[in-house]
């Protein structure tokens, strides 16, 4: 089983994007960082007790599923949309949603376009093998306008083509658009059109058929979300984990009460490790893609349900 393999190996193989600032990209020292990377690190910390024990495997849209199926990676945390066919037909198992997203369009400001409906005849850069590719076709078709696709393989390539003017529009998940735009020399010269044309629930996934491992990933993600909801942060976690607190759910989460860790086949302090790896969900968000970063994404749908968002961790009990 995957869990045993990971423990024996001592390293978690985590598939990430080939480079999308804020979500997964190596920094100048070659250390991977980002929001998706944070999930990998949390899982590694939960399972191995070491947030550094991750081998990041950069995967393109084309290689991601085969790499996962073939066992090259233990999990995929790579802005991947949860769809019916991926879940059912490709026999993958999505273990939750870490970012509620939708597909958007980015155009140069001087093109003078203000709505996606005005894009008739435009040349569109699109990553192949993605849901956005299919959505794009559907959207233009249903609005009865035409376009010319320029298929590309990685976000980096798309960025090059778009900046060189080989396509008028770049479309992908809105979050990725924001991240891409943030890395431009002059982000202000480009605008993201208001239309969001699809639902893109992004989340980590694992192979089908190994539910134990799926549970580990699923509940690690839930632990991060629940931690925010419960007010557990990397700053106060040591203190909270030191002794049982007044909140039994916090106690169960942090292993000071009950046997949740053992049920997953992990140490009792698995969630503590996971949360201290990079902080709770909010911390990860703010640090990597939040409003104070160049990417500047608002929480929006990704706020806790208590704040009117969609984040809603099942109870730890």
């Amino acid at each position: 089983a995957t869990l045993d393999d990971v423990k024996e190996r001592g390293v978690l193989n985590c598939g990430v994007s080939t480079g999308l600032v804020g979500f997964a990209s190596p920094n100048a020292n070659g250390v991977w960082e980002g929001f998706d990377v944070g999930v990998c690190r949390a899982v590694a910390a939960a399972v191995l007790g070491d947030a550094e024990a991750v081998e990041f495997v950069p995967l393109t849209t084309k290689t991601r599923f085969t790499a996962l199926s073939a066992g090259e990676v233990d999990m995929l945390s790579r802005n991947t949309t949860w769809t019916f066919s991926r879940d059912v037909d490709l026999k993958l198992e999505f273990t939750g949603i870490n970012y509620y997203d939708g597909q958007g369009f980015m155009v140069p400001r001087d093109l003078g376009v203000s709505s996606a409906k005005e894009l008739d005849g435009a040349t569109v850069c699109i990553q192949t093998g993605t849901t956005t590719e299919l959505n794009l076709a559907d959207y233009f078709r249903s609005n009865n306008i035409s376009y010319e696709p320029v298929p590309i393989e990685t976000n980096a390539e798309a960025q090059q083509q778009y900046l060189a003017g080989a396509c008028d529009v770049y479309t992908t998940d809105a979050s990725a658009l924001a991240a891409t735009r943030a890395s431009f020399e002059a982000p202000g010269d480009h605008i993201v059109l208001p239309e969001i044309v699809s639902k893109e629930p992004l989340g980590p996934l694992v192979r089908h058929g190994d539910s134990d491992w799926g549970d580990v990933v699923r509940w690690t993600l839930n632990a991060l979300i629940a931690a925010e909801e419960l007010g557990v942060t990397s700053a106060n976690i040591e203190e909270l984990a030191a002794a049982p607190t007044g909140n039994p759910e916090v106690n169960r989460l942090l292993g000071t009460e009950g046997e949740l860790g053992a049920m997953l086949g992990l140490d009792a302090n698995w969630a503590v490790m996971a949360i201290s790896a990079g902080g709770n969900y909010a911390e990860l968000f703010e640090k990597n893609i939040g409003e104070n970063t160049p990417i500047g994404l608002a929480r929006g749908l990704n706020a806790q349900w208590t704040d009117g968002g969609l984040l809603y961790s099942p109870p730890f009990r």
């Binding site: 199926s69 991926r86 037909d89 192949t128 299919l134 298929p151 060189a164 003017g165 080989a166």
Partner: protein, 404 residues
Amino acid sequence: MSSITDPPQGSFRLSMLINDTRYRSLTFQAIAALILALSIWYLGNNLIQNLRQAGLNISYNFLGNPAGYDINQTLVEYTSRSTHAQAALVGILNTLLIAFLACVMATIFGVAAGVLRLSNNWLVSKLMGVYVEIFRNIPVLIWIIIIFTIMTAVMPAPRAFRGDEPEATMLLNAFAFTNRGIYVPAPIWGPGSLVVVLTFLASIVGIFAYRRYATKTLYATGRLLPTFWPSIGLFFVPTILMHFIMGQPISLDHPVLGGFNFSGGLQLGAPLIALWFALSIYTGAFIAENVRAGIQAVSKGQSEAAGALGLRSGRIMSLVVLPQALRVIIPPLISQYLNITKNSSLAIAVGYADVTATLGGITLNQTGRAIECVLLLMLFYLTISLTISGVMNVYNNSVKLKER
């Protein structure tokens, strides 16, 4: 006693399977068959187990489902509602298109470079030598990427043609070189244009007929009719005349800047051009070597002998050297064509929608039917290869020089 009888049947003994020459080969083949069967069984068994474990199955039903994605260059009707099978067909046609274009162009490059390399002009022959060495020794993938980069990063975007003082202008108001491709005027077939086209086809037939006639009169009367100018004349004059007689039915649709892109005219997309050019110029370097070797394989004595008979250098080429060189050149040339077809699968690196990109790329990714897609892909290339090598064998057998 000199009657010819049939050979006797050997009597069969079951002993000595290893040491008896007759049965030894059977033994080995039986072992080989066993090993083959075992490995097929082993691999097949692994496959089945793995598929079962992953909950997958092998099925080609997906081919009938809507593909869902759009393709930017299609030779046949295709929309995102078409099936995966149609997407594969689009890819196959695109592969054949690029292969055909690149074969033609590579032959032109290769023959030109090969002949020029033998030129007695020192500079030209050295230049061609450099061309051949540089292109042969750098991977074709790097060439494709370099040329694609030139196309997309160096050429102006259509946007640059806009405005009162555009950064880029169209050539002759008819050709636009942009980083999305090259736009050229496209013919509009007005009523009556069929007559013009037929006239054109007829004049091509006419050229051949005339040339045959010229050879015939040469043989019959010894009079050598001029062929060059009459051919040129036949090529242009009747068609142009007919064009005006019919009231200029064929007009040109010039590309004009409209909306985001040029519209009208004919667009040759950047990926197509990059791939076309890269494959041609890369393979051209190999063909140049074949051409050179072929011409050099015709010994100097042949052209001297022809010269001594009083033939002019042009005739020496066409009557003596080329017919012999072609026998040497054509077989490797055909394998180069095969290589072009196979290398066109690198289209995937520049986003040209060939069969590797549609069937082996997007379809594979969207459906996850890796095994099925890759098998179909291999089947396609295999068919092409076997067909071409079949043609080559027929050719080789037909041109074998008669020897003692």
